[in-house]
């Protein structure tokens, strides 16, 4: 019985004019375009400069700032209003204002002031931008004092703390390496979540569900026959994207591909189960779509895909604890970046199994053959 039902599902899938194209095109689109976009690096911060001093020192400072990778000089303003205007119109992100007696203060008093005004709507950009600027100012002060010994107020060399930053697992801080596994998770959740959510309900709308209901097909068999095609779709999509990422971005998982497939097969069962539950409770395609959309968006945003879970408030972190995407995301990143073994990811594996079982049992129970 199961075999015929699965055959029917596959026939319906391939007969559809839209779905097979979607299943092939979406992974292509996601893997080709988005790895380049998902980049939270802060560079090209636009600066507006107000130089009240116009001395050698201030000009040197500005040159030093602009020559760094992070900053672009967007304009030189004569006064504060003009500079503020450039922030309001979005031309610049940060204003640097150098005080009138910058050089003289540096020579006579040993200290001078620079005003930094940042547009903090994007807090990360403002914070990182000002902290880059501050470290450039410190560097400048050090090199200035070594060139112009005269400005040293007291003699003697102060002790220096040298910092050596080093990054494990991703030494060049490459965003693609971090985001591509996450994009694969996104892709799997979208395709294997939305398609089942719309499946049973479209049988309801088309009226064909009646025929299933009067047939001797058992509920478990019916749900299983709905799950297996999406499971296959999940594998196809995953293999396409792993292939593309290896070919285009030379990104090979440090860990084993087999572990990836093992975890994703459990994960796909979970999201497809969620989709089927929603499909069972909905009466129209529109309802199913809206409800699934509601859940998928929450699952995506509370999974740590885009913003780290540890930055969320405590209640949201707790909520993220019942999010299968969070666990699968961790697993994918661990395998791709750190090469973790199956044994090190047992908690995540357990959680994913639990989701798969609970959601699918629920899917079977919520399917009613009689109305």
């Amino acid at each position: 019985m199961l075999r015929f039902l699965i055959e029917k599902e596959f026939k319906q899938l391939f007969k559809n004019s839209f779905l097979p194209k979607l299943i092939l095109i979406l992974p292509l689109m996601v893997m080709l375009v988005f790895p380049w976009a998902v980049n939270q690096e802060i560079k090209n911060v636009e600066l507006s400069v107000i130089d009240h001093d116009c001395s050698t020192a201030s000009k040197q400072l500005i040159r030093k700032i602009v020559s760094s990778d992070y900053f672009i000089l967007s304009n030189v303003s004569a006064n504060n209003d003009q500079a503020l205007g450039s922030i309001e119109s979005g031309q610049s992100d940060i204003i640097i204002e150098i005080e009138p007696d910058f050089e003289r203060n540096l020579v006579n008093r040993g200290s001078a002031e620079v005003m930094i005004t940042a547009n903090a709507v994007n807090g990360t950009k403002a914070n990182l931008g000002t902290s880059y600027l501050t470290s450039i100012l410190n560097d400048f002060a050090l090199s200035w004092s070594s060139q112009h010994r005269g400005c040293t107020v007291a003699t003697g060399n102060p002790p220096v703390l040298q910092l050596i930053p080093q990054y494990k697992f991703n030494p060049h801080l490459d965003y693609k390496v971090y985001m591509i596994p996450a994009l694969m998770v996104l892709l799997l959740s979208l395709l294997c979540g939305f398609l089942p959510a719309l499946n049973i309900v479209s049988e309801k709308e088309a009226g064909t569900i009646e025929q299933i209901n009067v047939s001797p097909v058992r509920k478990e068999t019916f749900v299983l026959a709905k799950l297996i095609p999406y499971w296959t779709v999940g594998f196809v999509v995953l293999l396409i994207s792993i292939g593309l990422s290896a070919w285009l971005y030379k990104l090979f998982p440090v860990g084993s591909v087999f572990t990836i497939l093992l975890f994703s097969s459990v994960f796909v069962l979970g999201v497809s189960g969620l989709g089927l539950i929603i499909s069972n409770y909905s009466n129209t395609l529109q309802q199913a779509m809206f409800v699934m959309f509601f859940f998928i968006l929450i699952l995506i945003f509370l999974s740590g895909l885009f913003t780290p879970v540890s930055s969320m408030p405590l209640w949201a972190q707790t909520l993220a604890g019942i999010n299968p995407l969070k666990y699968f995301m961790q697993v994918m990143r661990l395998i791709f970046l750190q090469g973790s073994k199956l044994g090190q990811m047992l908690p995540q594996g357990g959680a994913l199994c639990l989701f798969a079982i609970v959601l699918n049992v629920w899917a079977v129970l919520s399917y009613r053959k009689s109305s």
Binding site: I116, T130, N170
Partner: protein
Amino acid sequence: MKPFRAFVNKEFCHIFRDKRTMLILLAMPVIQILLFGFALSNEVKDAQIAVFDPSKDVFTRAVKDRFQASEYFTLTEELENVHMINDVFKYGKTNLVLVFSDRFADNLFSVGHAEIQLIADGSDPNYASMLTNYAAGIIGGYQQELMEKYGSPCRIVPQIKMLYNPQGKSAYFFVPGVMGLILMLICAMMTSIAIVREKETGSMEILLASPVKPLHIIMAKTVPYFTLSILNLITILLLSVFVLKVPVAGSLFWLFVVSLIFILTALALGLLISTLVNTQLAAMLSSGMVLMLPTILLSGMIFNIESMPAILQWLSTLIPARWYIIAVKKLMIQGVAVQYVLKETAILCAMAALLLGVSLGKFKTRLK
């Protein structure tokens, strides 16, 4: 005008009849804006650091104390030997390891400098570079103190001022983005099904046989959804201001005008999808799923457009949400005058007009 009004009436009936969908439509934005407004954040707080400190002297203790006192970090572990550094990332939750060099205090005075290694888990590059930056800031503060104590060369004192968002709340950055995302997708999803459903259920034939003009059919389809979207917009704005405490610093009137234009653009996009595809399934998937990806990723809602390669920057100009999010940030949070958002408004108007025009042109008055 009378047939048009009757037609609008019919569309309203369709919507009101389906109580469940209506409830979802009105409640969904409420929950989403609250959830995302509070939960989405890039802030670093209480990152866990481990320390490897072989010398344990006055200076290393001073540095550690400064880390402990900072709100960004909590010191969780003192490592006994160098080999533990690797393990601590794999098994623990440590985000950053501070490694002081041997004989720290001696080196500081005999050689003139001593080393501190900052080893971060680079898996999440953004988080890692923020952590090392904050750590460098803390150590830099201590360096200043040392300089003052032991004879200093000249210093430049930065006076930092954060405009518009002095407390650095993430909600100020994410709320405009979430507004753009929710309005775009809900509006597009609502209308995308409108015409295609008539095609699928067969009632399109009746519509085409009636004396109603195609323009009226399309307009009548938009009016009810436009009304619903305005309700959504109002609830979203109320929640942002009163619950998420994101102020409307600029003119509420213009914020509303720009939002209405954006809603119209989204509805028009939905209509266009509706005229292009033949099944409800395809309509829902293209407006909900396919549209979702570029709207999240290319609109500047989370990822900075300036950091993208040129082709994607160009591609992002085609995303209506990009312009809306910029306009909302300016009007709502920066509180600038309306002339600063003329460009964004003009682009949204042009997009709306183009989309409506194309969907009207694509609207087939004959059945196959």
